[in-house]
C-alpha cells in the first residue's frame, strides 16, 4: 500500500515538474509537424487508405520518445542533482518511484494521438473516423500501460549503460520499424517478423489500425500480447533498478551531494 502511495506521489511530483519544465512537452510540438509531413506524403501520393497510418504513427512515436528520452533521464538527473542518495536511504524502493514518474511522462506523450487527429481534421480536412471507439480506447490504454513498463526498463538500462546518450539516440528508428509504426509489419522482410513480435508497439499499431478500420476480430490476442510484454518489461525494469541500487551500494557509487 505504501509503495503504491509512493508511486502516486511520484506521479504528482512528475506532474509538478513537467508543468515547470517546458522541455517535457517538446514532443507535443514535434507531433503536429510529424503528422503534417506524413499526411502530406499520403495526400500527394493519392493514398487515402494510408491516412489513418499517418495519423496514428506520430501518436506512437510520441509515446516512444517520451519513454526513451524523458524516462531515461529521470535517474541520471536525480543522481546529478544529489537526490539519489537520500532516495535510496528511504524505505520505499527506487523502482516503483521511477515507474510512477515514468507513467506521467508517458501520459504526456499519449496526448500526441489527440494532436495528430486534430492536425488531420483541422489542417487537412481529413477526419479520421474510428470504427470501433471502445476497442480504440482499450488499445490506447494498454499501449500506454505497456509503454510505462517498457519505459521503466529503458530507464534502468540507460542508467546501467555507460553509453547512455548513444543508446538514447539510436533506439528510435529501429523500434519505429520493428514496431510497425512507419509501415505495417507485414510490409517488412519476413525475417524481421519474429523480432517485431517481441516489440509491443507492433501489436499496438495493428490493434489501433484495426480499431480505426473496424476489422479487428481477434482483439484478445494482441491485447494480451501488449499487456504481457509491458508487464515483462516492467518486471525486468524494477529488477534491474534494484540491481543497480544494490551495485551502487556495493561498489560505492553513491555520492553525497
Amino acid at each position: 500500500m505504501s509503495t503504491l502511495r509512493a508511486m502516486w506521489r511520484a506521479v504528482l511530483l512528475q506532474v509538478a515538474l513537467s508543468r515547470r519544465a517546458p522541455e517535457h512537452a517538446l514532443i507535443l510540438l514535434i507531433a503536429p509537424m510529424q503528422t503534417t509531413t506524413m499526411l502530406a506524403l499520403t495526400v500527394t501520393s493519392h493514398r487515402p487508405d494510408a491516412v489513418a497510418n499517418a495519423v496514428l504513427a506520430p501518436g506512437l512515436i510520441g509515446l516512444w520518445v517520451a519513454a526513451l528520452d524523458h524516462a531515461g533521464r529521470i535517474v541520471p538527473e536525480d543522481r546529478w542533482a544529489g537526490r539519489f542518495t537520500p532516495m535510496i536511504a528511504a524505505p520505499v524502493p527506487l523502482g516503483p518511484v521511477v515507474a510512477g514518474r515514468v507513467a506521467m511522462v508517458v501520459l504526456v506523450g499519449a496526448a500526441a494521438f489527440a494532436e495528430s487527429w486534430l492536425v488531420a481534421a483541422l489542417g487537412f480536412g481529413r477526419v479520421v473516423a474510428v470504427a470501433d471507439p471502445a476497442l480504440f480506447a482499450v488499445a490506447v490504454a494498454v499501449t500506454c500501460l505497456a509503454t510505462i513498463g517498457t519505459a521503466t526498463l529503458l530507464s534502468a538500462v540507460l542508467v546501467v549503460s555507460r553509453a547512455r546518450d548513444v543508446l538514447q539516440n539510436s533506439l528510435g528508428y529501429p523500434f519505429y520499424i520493428l514496431g510497425g509504426i512507419l509501415v505495417p509489419v507485414a510490409a517488412l522482410p519476413g525475417w524481421l517478423h519474429p523480432f517485431s513480435r517481441v516489440v509491443f508497439l507492433s501489436w499496438s499499431a495493428e490493434l489501433l489500425r484495426g480499431a480505426v478500420r473496424g476489422d479487428a476480430d481477434a482483439w484478445f490476442r494482441p491485447v494480451a500480447a501488449i499487456l504481457g510484454l509491458g508487464a515483462a518489461a516492467m518486471a525486468a525494469g524494477l529488477w534491474l533498478t534494484r540491481r543497480y541500487v544494490d551495485r551502487s551500494r556495493r561498489e560505492g557509487m553513491v555520492e553525497f551531494a
Binding site: R5, R9, A89, P91, V92
Partner: protein, 315 residues
C-alpha cells in the same frame, strides 16, 4: 538498552580496477549512546563520509558490523531506514523547481507516510525551521541557509530517532549556522541522537557531547569533547592577556614552555610540558603583574591539528 550506534571492526575497501584498493575504513569500533550528539572529525579522505554512508545504508561494508538502535545495517536495512534521517549539506538534493512544501510531500511518501500525516508534519516542520512563510516558494529562490533548513525538515519528516548530519552548516553565515545549531540542540532535547560529520571545530565544540577523530580510516581518539585535550598527554596551556609582546618573548625562554602563540590582540596562549610547568608559568606571569591568566587544556582544534599533523592538503 542497545546503543544508538555500535560498529565493530567496521571495514570498507574501495576497489579501483587495476590500481591498489583504497582502505577507507579500517577496523573501526565505535559506540554512540542514545540521545548523544557525537562529532565525527577528520581531514578530507579520512573516512567520515564512508562511515556515514554505511550507517545510513547507502554503502555496504567490506567487513565488520554496524548496528543502529539494535538493527544491523546490512541485514535489517528496511528497519534501519525507518529509524534514521540523513541530512546532507550543500545546495543540492532537493527539487529546485518545486516549492518547499511539495518537496516535503514527495519525500514523506518515500518514508511510507500517508498524505494527511505528511501534510500535517510538513506544515509543523516548515514552521519549526522558520520556512512557513516561504513554504510555497520554489526552492531555487532559497538561500543556502534556507535550503539547509529544508534539508533538516526533510530528514525529520518521518520522526527518526537517529540523525546523520554531513557538514550541515558548511557555507552558512554565522547567524544561520547559529540558528541551525540551536535547532539541533532542541531536537536532541526531544531524545534524538545525532552523528555530526564536520570540519568545523567550533561547531563540534559547541554541539557535541563526544567526538571521534578518524584519519586514514582509523580511529585516532574518541572522547568527551570537554576532555579531549587530555589526549595530548601531559600537555597543558595557560591563557593570559598582556599588551607587551616582550612578556611573550620572555616566556618562550622558560624551560617548561613548549610554545607561545598570539590568540587575538593582547591575548596569548602558552603551551607547557605539564601541570608543574603551568604552575611555574602562572607564577612567572604574576611576578610581572599579569592580572588575567588561567590554566587550561588544549582545545579540540589543537588536538585535531596535532593528531592530523600536516595532512591538511593531502588525502
Amino acid at each position: 538498552m542497545e546503543a544508538a550506534v555500535h560498529t565493530s571492526g567496521l571495514r570498507r575497501v574501495y576497489r579501483r580496477g587495476r590500481k591498489d584498493p583504497v582502505v577507507a575504513l579500517d577496523d573501526l569500533t565505535l559506540t554512540i549512546e542514545r540521545n548523544e550528539i557525537h562529532g565525527l572529525l577528520g581531514p578530507n579522505g579520512a573516512g567520515k563520509t564512508t562511515l556515514v554512508k554505511i550507517l545510513s545504508t547507502v554503502l555496504l561494508p567490506s567487513g565488520g558490523s554496524a548496528r543502529i538502535l539494535g538493527h544491523d545495517v546490512v541485514a535489517d536495512t528496511r528497519d534501519v531506514r525507518s529509524l534514521i534521517g540523513l541530512v546532507l549539506g550543500g545546495d543540492r538534493g532537493l527539487y529546485d523547481r518545486l516549492s518547499a512544501r511539495r518537496n516535503l510531500l514527495f519525500w514523506g511518501a518515500l518514508y511510507r507516510l500517508d498524505a494527511r500525516t505528511t501534510r500535517e508534519r510538513a506544515d509543523a516542520l516548515l514552521e519549526r525551521v522558520g520556512l512557513a512563510e516561504r513554504a510555497d516558494d520554489r526552492v531555487e529562490r532559497f538561500s543556502r541557509g534556507m535550503r539547509q533548513r529544508l534539508h533538516l525538515a526533510r530528514g525529520l519528516l518521518h520522526e527518526p530517532r537517529m540523525l546523520f548530519l554531513d557538514e550541515p552548516t558548511s557555507g552558512l553565515d554565522p547567524v544561520a549556522a547559529g540558528a541551525f545549531r540551536r535547532l539541533v540542540l532542541d531536537l536532541r532535547a526531544e531524545g534524538r541522537t545525532f552523528l555530526l560529520a564536520t570540519h568545523d571545530m567550533d561547531e563540534a565544540t559547541a554541539l557535541c557531547d563526544r567526538v571521534t577523530l578518524i584519519d586514514r580510516g582509523r580511529m585516532l581518539l574518541s572522547a568527551d569533547t570537554a576532555r579531549v585535550g587530555r589526549f595530548l598527554g601531559e600537555r597543558e596551556c595557560v591563557d593570559f592577556t598582556h599588551p607587551d609582546p616582550s612578556v611573550a618573548e620572555g616566556l618562550a625562554l622558560l624551560p617548561d614552555v613548549t610554545g607561545v602563540e598570539r590568540r587575538d590582540g593582547a591575548a596569548w596562549r602558552v603551551h607547557t610540558a605539564g601541570r608543574d610547568g603551568s604552575r611555574r608559568v602562572l607564577g612567572w606571569l604574576l611576578d610581572r603583574d599579569v592580572l588575567t591568566a588561567r590554566r587550561g587544556e588544549p582545545s579540540l582544534e589543537e588536538v585535531y591539528l596535532r593528531a592530523v599533523g600536516d595532512r591538511g592538503m593531502r588525502v
